[in-house]
Symmetry: C2
């Protein structure tokens, strides 16, 4: 818990800098070697875990705000964040409304105001992204999707909506550029898809289909190391990848 003075100081500062009533929450999915995780924070002042979130500065574009928030709260930078949904239930931050209700008047406590939150999500290789907690957080870490803690506020809804969006997007857009290393093998890419979808895919059909999209370059090298035939390395064909992002993978009609 913060003291009355601390809260009032933080609140006054926030009112100066940030737009009232608007917040951003980020769902950052991390993937490495067949494991999928989400980036989460444990607050110093509250029990329970939350998604990295924050506010929009008075003259800041919202996409810029999302990246700044993620960077300052978690140390993770240069990530392709995408807005996916707005969460606007009037009581979605009831927990924050009540927490300091008898300490500081609601109007004077910026954090107890009603906030409509814009959800952003991203995919990164969690091996290359080392989470660092900010001054408000005790812990900032990757949590396994199969072992999630209880969430504060409506962050569980935000998380599940992001996961649904990710799965839906997988069926009509390419995924993986922000998530795989520059060079990767087909089985590695397949693991990514299997992890996101939560089911096994046929190795040979996956390869044919993936190559059919025309967004991969086959490299001459192979990745040695296992007690088995060395798989070829691939990289994304960035130009075609971007085009596929825009137009979708299936024509539809």
């Amino acid at each position: 818990m913060l003291t009355k003075e601390e809260l009032e100081e933080y609140s006054a500062e926030a009112i100066e800098i940030y737009l009232d009533h608007i917040s951003i929450d980020c769902v950052v999915f991390g993937f490495h070697e067949g494991q999928m995780k989400v980036l989460m924070l444990k607050s110093k002042n509250e029990d329970g875990w939350q998604l990295p979130g924050g506010f929009v500065q008075k003259r800041e574009p919202i996409d810029v705000a999302a990246n700044r928030i993620l960077a300052t709260r978690t140390g993770i930078d240069e990530v392709f964040l995408q807005q996916f949904h707005v969460f606007g239930a009037p009581d979605r931050n009831r927990q924050h409304n009540e927490m300091y209700a008898d300490l500081v008047a609601k109007e004077k406590n910026f954090f107890a105001h009603r906030f409509i939150s814009i959800g952003y999500y991203a995919l990164v290789d969690f091996f290359n992204a080392i989470p660092t907690p900010d001054e408000f957080s005790e812990i900032c870490t990757w949590r396994d999707l199969n072992d999630l803690p209880p969430f504060l506020l409506d962050h569980e809804l935000i998380f599940t909506t992001a996961l649904d969006t990710l799965r839906l997007q997988l069926s009509y857009q390419p995924i993986g550029y922000n998530l795989m290393p520059k060079e990767f093998t087909m089985p590695e890419l397949q693991k990514l898809y299997e992890t996101i979808l939560g089911k096994k895919l046929d190795r040979r059909n996956f390869q044919r289909r993936m190559l059919g999209f025309g967004i991969l370059n086959k490299l001459p090298q192979t990745r040695k190391g296992g007690a088995h035939k060395a798989p070829y390395l691939y990289s994304f064909d960035l130009e075609n990848y971007q085009a596929a992002l825009k137009e979708g993978l299936k024509s539809g009609w």
Copy 2:
């Protein structure tokens, strides 16, 4: 142009009722007999046309706000509105910032504040929806997609983003329940798809595919009237339609 007193009165009222910094804009696509239109307003006080928009009340869920805004500004009610994007550029309502800048101080003019707008879109049968302008609008009417006026603010961006979203959605979700009359013929439904996509589709393949989705009921009646064989009437199978909305039409992976 409003007078100083009028503006100050409206502004003071708005500050009481609405959340600051958050607005909603609605893109309502109307369809009837092969014609596609958008619902637009011409303001009494400004040149140029805009989408019906408004603000969120202090304790109102945003989806409820979207419906209230559409109803009060255009008279159109009971529409399935869906959020599709947030528009958050810091200067997106520059026009409104400047308009009354020398008349009323920026802080005292609610409408000159920065607003982050949540875009909602909907599809309706424009024959059944009669637009009625509110007190701020001179005209409220359906505008043909091929004959659009110059838009105020960033409303052209909001409109084109909505249209792109609609076209994308067409490829993986059913569309038409909110747009077609209860009973309709297959050629009528096809016209809807052709109008949204802006291209011709094969009559026979369209029918087979549409029936394959399992979201239509074939009715025993036919629609007489033309100098040709009377086409069968169909209605949507609401249960399957809802399921298809949730799960998408194509499995993907």
